[in-house]
Amino acid sequence: MNVGGDIQVIRGQSDMIWSLTSHPHSVRQALAQITTYLRARGVPEAHRLNVELVLAEVLNNICEHAYRGADDGRILTSVSCSHDMIQCHITDKGSAMPGLTPPKGRFRDPDTCAFDDLPEGGFGWGLIRAIAADVQYERRNVENHLFLQIASASAPCARAVSGIV
């Protein structure tokens, strides 16, 4: 069992790329670093939390479903900022999404649900679709590629601070 310390950060041309393993502790650590990066780029807190939540759902799904709980799968997470959007590109080599389509992620209405049937999971894709402005998925050979756009509102990404992360 890895302890989740295996994270590398690569500075791309216009983005930062986190390479992490499919372990909840690696996910948590990567999210903390991405949040630090977005703070340094001037992204307001509410929007940083949106990115953190969407990426948490995506990365946890990859750990649980694409890699089926194996904690040594590799995940690449690229994050870049334009003036009003944060672009994320997440890649893994796990199983393809069923039907090669991301789930619709509909929420069940608890009012029409028996007490014992209240859902204890399955909220992830509903949250991703509620928050992300755009979601695209492609299966390329053995790789899953997920492209997300999340509003950064008035984030002054153009005035980026250097020396981040």
């Binding site: 502790h25 948590r28 939540l53 759902e57 946890n60 209240l118 999971g121 909220f123 992830g124 509620a130």
Partner: protein, 115 residues
């Protein structure tokens, strides 16, 4: 990953304070175990979960809260207090705010009559 819960007895139940900033996939199992221990033998009493320190909740954490709510049984509520903006948003987007009794803060929770 440990999740510490501080227990404070009140007249007709207990306040369980979550001493963690994140209730996420990494914390979910430990959180559920700690809650089960904290609420063992509290049948009929109010259980108020003070979420003041929790700034981040993901779907795993939310699923854990729903499981905890179900563990108390249908005859009483799991009451939540002091939700951060993100926790409140996750609750509302998923409609799970209907599953819990939610109070704005600890005093309001204590002042509320047992439900």
């Amino acid at each position: 990953m440990d999740v510490r819960l501080d227990i404070e007895p009140i007249r007709n139940g207990l306040i369980v304070k979550v001493c963690a900033s994140r209730v996420d996939a990494a914390a979910a199992l430990a959180f559920r175990d700690a809650f089960r221990q904290a609420t063992a033998g509290t049948d009929g009493q109010r259980v108020i979960l003070d979420m003041e320190d929790v700034t981040f909740l993901d779907s795993s954490g939310l699923g854990t809260l729903v499981a905890m709510r179900k563990s108390l049984g249908q005859d009483r509520q799991l009451e939540l207090t002091t939700l951060s903006p993100l926790v409140d948003k996750v609750m509302r987007l998923t409609a799970m705010d209907k599953v819990f009794a939610i109070h704005p803060n600890r005093d309001a929770a204590i002042d509320t009559q047992a439900q």
